[in-house]
Every structure is written in structure tokens, then in C-alpha cells.
Amino acid sequence: MPMALSTQTATDDDQNILLARIDNARSVSNILKAIHFKETATVFASPMGLKVTVEDAKCIQANAFIQEGIFQEYVIKEEQITFKINLTILLECLTIFGTGAVGGSCTSLKMCYAGYGRPLVLMLEEEGVLTDCSIKTLEPDEVLDFNFSSTNVINKIIMKSECLKEAFNELDMTSDVLEFLMSPDAPYLRLSTFGNAGSTHSDFPKDSDMMESFQCAQTQTNRYKVSLLKPSVKALALSSRVSIRTDNRGFLSLQYMIKNEDGQICFVEYYCAPDEDVDDPEH
């Protein structure tokens, strides 16, 4: 099918059921990079904005929220639009003019979607140079519902991302698991790895000035596969604050507050299922 034709029709606004325009494409691309650990992502568009979901191994799910207020223009003609797309290609297109935040030059983005079976059309412009991309959309798969509800949350910690960044960057990758211990008593929050060199523990006291909120009802120790959590480092790196929550099943929710270049706030969250065999006495 001739790409040129489909591009032309796609830019016809009447056809589009979704249209989003933003002056700085990096506001979208940076957030999406934070969840880019698989090739494909599922996009959910609603009047509230965009939610992009990436999953792996049926154990981990990352969601990026780009609310409609971020966009200069956001028009949606349906209540819920869902499609799957190749995230790698989407990111390459979004960053086609380069990734650097150099010299104030911004790439502006216009995204259009004409409905089921139609491609996602991007138009990017920087300093008079225009690029248009048409990316095929795919049949959306069902995404996991981790059923993580606030009512089941046992422990919740909100802290500044800075100190956690270091701990995650230096995660001992020879360890299979990352163990989260959250407790109303010392050591309060402890991240542990058990690798070839030995065990490593990072303790974060609840009265640290890095802690913004510490609500732990009971001592919980849960282990998660390092390989699954490692991608969350990207989101952590962009974020300024992070909330760590575990529920009664030991599921972990990490929510990252990310400020984009224009000072607007977006959220990325990661859900992770615990590694079984948690009941090893080894510590």
C-alpha cells in the first residue's frame, strides 16, 4: 500500500479519532524510554491522556502516563482507544532529529490515529525540517491487571529518588533477586542482593531526610527478580520522587514522578510480582 497516500489521508483531521500535538517531543519520548524494555507496547488513549504499557514475563508491567494537559492540543473522539505498536520504532521516530536537549531547539510532534487498522502517524518538525512517519499498529493483547489496589497496600514509602538511584545503579547483577524489606522497625527499608561476591544491603532509615513519607504497618520481606526490576532504573533516573508500595500478596508497586523539561509532571509506574520461594531463611 502506498505509504504516501495513507499519510495524506491520515493527516486529514476529520478521519482521526485521536490527535495530539506537543511542542517538545522529548516530553513524550523521554517518558517512553523509561519503560522501553520490550519491543512492543500497548497504547491506551482516553480523554484523560495517554497510557503506554509494556509487560514482560507476565511478572512485570510498566505504565507511562502522559496526561492530556501536557499536550498543546489533544482531541479524542472515543472513550477508549487501544492499539499495540512497536515501541522501538516509535521511539526512533520520535527522536529522529536526535536526542540531545541542546540549544533550545525543540522538535514539535503531532500524532494522529484514524482508528482500528490505521497506522499511527507522526509528524515531527524541527527548525523548518519536517519528517513524517507512519507506523503500523497491531492488534492489542490483553494486558495484565495486577489488581493492585490501595486498600490492600500494607507498606508505603515515598522518598526522594536520589539515594535510591545509587542503590539501583550499583545493583549486584550477579544476584538473582532483589529483596525489599520494609518494616516499621529497623532497618525500616532495606534493599538486599545476594550475588557472587557476597550479600549487599542498603539501609534507608525512616528518619532520613530523603524520606518524605513512611507508612509501614508490618514487616514484609519480598524478593523480586533483578532482571525484571533492572529496567525500572531508567524511570528512576528520570524521576525526582518515588513511591514504593507492597500489598498483602507481596506485589510491588513503584511509582515515579517525573518532571519533564517544561516542568510538567508525568508518572511512570512499575508493578512486579514477587519471586516465589521467598521463605528462605537465608539473609
Binding site: 550499583e170 539501609d203 528518619d207 530523603m210
Partner: protein, 511 residues
């Protein structure tokens, strides 16, 4: 054992660990009463490094001796840790500098873990529980005071000099005479010398903080290791002191911060054929030196003399004096006395230890016996001395032109009052790659030397009086060496292979 590194010193400590990691794969840790010793040796035993951090370096230092809870048999911790393990603790030095307020190192005997606790900003505590292996002390016997050549330079000078060499340059040669100091890249005989780039850098003695050239010489050593040394010295901005004698004798790089810490890197140097006979001079350094060297760990300022430890060679004392004309009489005497006292220990040690070079048992035992029997007899041939002997491996006697002489003594728990030498394994200072067979013209000379003198080199004026008990007719050390010195095998084989390629020009055509 428990010690606390204050935040200000973590950078230095971490850098020391990093530079050690570029030398060897395992870090030997030993808390001594005069400080914490971190040591390593490379796989081919041609480079040894030791950092000694005095108690003043720490906020709190407790070497654990006399610690009630520890076992009697190992009341001091002597352990080694994989470099990778400790690098996980000191991974990101720049971050550590900013965030770590202090680092506590302690021994958790119960779980057999060496614990590094980093107390960081914001109340964060990072604990690393590292598994260690108990081992004997790693200690090299080397001499600093007896070296006729000594250069001290700020590390910037050396860094700038070293920058001129390609990154893949393996070895450099330092050529010294009182007028100038030259650094050049070392090129093995290539089939076509015109295809190789030669870099030659000259420095004036005035550029050095201190320059004393007693013996005009050329020493060749590994550049990669020098870079590791400079990586550390750069950070501390302390000057680096080079002490060396001549080709074949080790070169010692020292970084000394008054009495807070001291770093010593001992690199083996290439011995070329002409100076090969000098190798025997190693034997000059006797045990007494080694004894003093064993004392090294006890007295931070003791510059243990002599690389080669030969049991029973009290006579070296004489030779040392003669050759260097330096008066370390006091030290030597002390060493000698100590040596005498320790002689029995050596006997025992030698009996206890396995010879790593089995096939040489006969040769070496023979040698050793003699050396033990007569203290003043220079029985050594520079070939491997086995058994408890701080063997120096000189490839003298081989056709190989490369002799790296360095002796590393492994000692286990200290016997009362003596240096810590329970176990000694021979040290083979052979630096892998260089079995040179290419210089044909000299081969014959070699052979002559070997048969005739066991290394009492005719050419060598300086050295001498070795009464080597080298057993003539023993197959060239190099061949056997290859059996024992792991990495050597490969390099030797490789070298041989490459040599054979050179020899048999057609082999390539077969492909």
C-alpha cells in the same frame, strides 16, 4: 579486626583498591599492628603490589590481635578476596567521595564474611558482606635501599610521559645514565623492524625531584602495570619513587605519604642476554635481607633489602656491601642475625612445603640442602628454588633471554618473633610472554655460560661470586618452567608458535 576509614580517606583507599585490581585478581588483606596491608600479585608473578595503611590513616584501627573471640590458630586475619568482590564495594569512587561519610571494615567470623559498611549521607548505610578465603601472607622480598638507581618524580611527569605510548604497548624500557633518562617502548625482535613504531622520550635529570643514577642501565617492565600505579598516584598527587638496579632485577615504585600510607609496586624487569649473568647477583641478596624484608611488614620504614631470599646465604651480605657500597650495615646485621635465627624455620618450612616445581626437586633440594648447610654458601643458581625458599626464578640457564627476577614470599602465620613465613611457595617471576629465542647469535653464548658458569657471568663485572650450584646439563629452565607457570605456558607456547612461524616461513602458505 575492625577499622574505620574516614570519609576524607575513602578516595585514597578506593583508588588503592582499583590500582591493585589492575595488577592481580585477588586482594590479600592482612591487618598488622602497624597497619592494614592490602597486597596482590599478578598471575605470572611478575608484579606485586602492596599498600600499607598505617593506623593514623584510619579513624579507628583495631587489628584484632588479642581479640578474645577469635580463634587461637588464626588470631590475625589473613585472607584474600576476589578483586571483583571488593570492586563492588568501591565501584563508583566519584559517587563515594561525595556520599560516603565513613567506611567500616570488620571481620564477621561467625559467618565468615569480611564486612564493609559504608555510612553515607542521609543516614543511608550500605553493607557488603564479602566472602573471603583464608590464606597465607603474601609478601615479596624486595630491596629498596640497596638500589643504586633512584628517581623521584611527581606523578604528572610520569603520566605525561606514559601518555605518549600507545595503549596497547605492553612494555617500556627505561634507560638511565647520569645525563639523561630515556623512556622508550620495548619492541621484541620483529621480523621487520620497519613495521614497528618506536617511541623514545628523553627526560633531563633536572625534571625529577630526585635523581640518583648509580649504575647506567636499561630496565624493561610492563607498561600496563605502570599505568595502574600512576592511576593511584595521580589521585594522591604524591611523588612516585622508582628504585631499580639493572635489567633482570625488579624495579620498585613507591608512593609514600609520610607515615599515613605507603604503596609499593614491585615489577619484574626483563633481563636481556648480556646481563643475564647478572641474575645470579640476586643470590647476593641473602636471606638476611629477606629477613629484613620479612620485617618489612612490621616496620613501615624498613626497606627490605633484596629480592632474593636464599636461605643460608649469609655471605650475601658481603656481596651487597661490596657491590653497592652502601652502608646498610646496621640493617644487614640485623637481618643477618635474624636470618640466623630463622634458619631453622626455613628448614622446617622447606620441609613442609611442596615444591611447586616438582621436576626440579632434585636440583633444588640439592641446592637447598647445601644452602642450608652452609649459610654462607651461595648455592643458588638462579633457577627456581623450591620449597619454602623464596624462590627466585631466574631464567638463567635457559636459553630464554628473559629473566624476570622477583621473589615473592608467601608466609603463613608468623612464628613468634620471626617473619611470617610458614608457607612459602616458590615464586616464579617469569613474565609470560617472553621466551626469546630469536637472538640466535647469543644463544651460543648462553649455552656457554650455562655450561660453564651457571651464571657466573664473564661479562658481568659487577656481579660475581656466585657459587652457583647450578647443575649443568639440566634442561633449560624455561621448558620446565612452562609446566609450572600457568600463564607462561600459553605465552611461551604462543611465542614458540610465533617463533616457528618466523622460522618456517612456509607455514602460512599452507593455509
Amino acid at each position: 579486626m575492625k577499622c574505620v576509614v574516614p570519609g576524607a580517606n575513602i578516595k585514597v583507599f578506593g583508588r588503592a583498591v582499583h590500582s591493585l585490581s589492575k595488577i592481580g585478581e585477588e586482594l590479600y588483606i592482612e591487618p598488622l599492628d602497624h597497619g592494614l596491608a592490602l597486597r596482590t600479585v599478578n598471575s605470572s608473578r611478575s608484579a606485586y603490589a602492596c599498600f600499607l595503611f598505617a593506623p593514623s590513616f584510619f579513624q579507628h584501627y583495631d587489628d584484632g590481635v588479642g581479640d578474645v573471640s577469635s580463634q587461637d590458630s588464626d588470631d590475625t586475619l589473613r585472607c584474600k578476596i576476589a578483586m571483583k568482590s571488593i570492586l563492588t564495594v568501591f565501584r563508583s569512587l566519584s559517587t563515594m567521595e561525595k556520599t560516603v561519610e565513613r567506611c567500616k571494615i570488620k571481620l564477621n567470623m561467625k559467618d565468615s564474611r569480611l564486612v564493609f559498611q559504608l555510612y553515607c549521607r542521609h543516614g543511608i548505610v550500605k553493607t557488603h558482606n564479602l566472602a573471603f578465603i583464608e590464606c597465607e601472607t603474601l609478601q615479596a622480598v624486595f630491596s629498596k635501599d640497596m638500589c643504586p638507581n633512584s628517581l623521584t618524580a611527581c606523578s604528572k611527569l610520569l603520566c605525561d610521559a606514559v601518555m605518549n605510548f600507545q595503549n596497547n604497548q605492553e612494555e617500556v624500557t627505561l634507560i638511565v645514565n647520569p645525563e639523561k633518562i630515556v623512556l622508550k617502548n620495548y619492541v621484541e625482535d620483529e621480523p621487520d623492524p620497519t613495521k614497528v613504531m618506536h617511541t623514545n622520550l628523553s627526560l633531563q635529570p633536572e625534571e625529577f625531584d630526585y635523581c640518583q643514577i648509580g649504575v647506567d642501565t636499561e630496565v624493561t617492565f610492563c607498561l600496563k602495570e605502570l599505568r595502574a600505579i600512576l592511576g593511584f598516584s595521580e589521585v594522591t598527587t604524591l611523588p612516585v619513587t622508582l628504585k631499580f638496579e639493572t635489567a633482570g632485577r625488579p624495579i620498585v615504585f613507591s608512593i609514600d605519604s609520610d607515615s599515613t600510607f605507603e604503596g609499593n609496586f614491585v615489577l619484574a624487569t626483563l633481563a636481556d642476554q648480556l646481563t643475564q649473568s647478572q641474575a645470579p647477583t640476586q643470590s647476593r641478596s641473602t636471606t638476611q635481607k629477606s629477613r629484613s624484608s620479612m620485617k618489612q611488614s612490621r616496620t613501615p620504614h624498613s626497606r627490605s633489602t633484596m629480592m632474593n631470599h636464599r636461605p643460608g646465604n649469609g655471605g650475601d651480605n658481603r656481596s651487597n656491601t661490596r657491590n653497592y657500597g652502601q652502608s646498610n650495615a646496621a640493617e644487614r646485621t640485623d637481618g643477618l642475625e635474624e636470618f640466623m635465627n630463622d634458619e631453622n624455620d626455613f628448614d622446617e618450612m622447606m620441609i613442609q612445603h611442596e615444591t611447586t616445581i616438582n621436576h626440579r626437586d632434585q636440583t633444588n633440594i640439592h641446592n637447598n640442602k647445601q644452602t642450608i648447610d652452609s649459610k654462607h654458601k651461595h648455592s643458588e643458581d638462579l633457577s627456581v628454588r623450591s620449597k619454602g625458599d623464596n624462590s627466585v626464578v631466574n631464567s638463567k640457564g635457559d636459553h630464554s633471554n628473559i629473566d624476570y627476577s622477583m621473589e615473592i614470599m608467601r608466609s603463613a602465620s608468623p612464628t613468634a618473633g620471626c617473619s611470617k613465613t610458614n608457607e612459602e611457595s616458590p615464586v616464579i617471576p617469569i613474565l609470560g610472554s617472553r621466551v626469546k629465542i630469536t637472538d640466535r647469535s647469543l644463544d651460543e653464548t648462553d649455552i656457554t655460560m650455562e655450561d660453564g658458569n651457571h651464571g657466573n657471568d664473564v661479562d658481568n663485572q659487577d656481579n660475581n661470586e656466585e657459587d652457583d650450584e647450578y647443575i649443568p646439563g639440566t634442561p633449560p629452565a624455561k621448558r620446565f618452567r612452562s609446566l609450572f607457570f600457568g600463564s607462561q605456558d600459553l605465552t611461551q607456547t604462543q611465542h614458540k608458535a610465533s617463533t616457528s612461524v618466523v622460522l618456517a616461513a612456509d607455514s602460512d602458505d599452507d593455509e
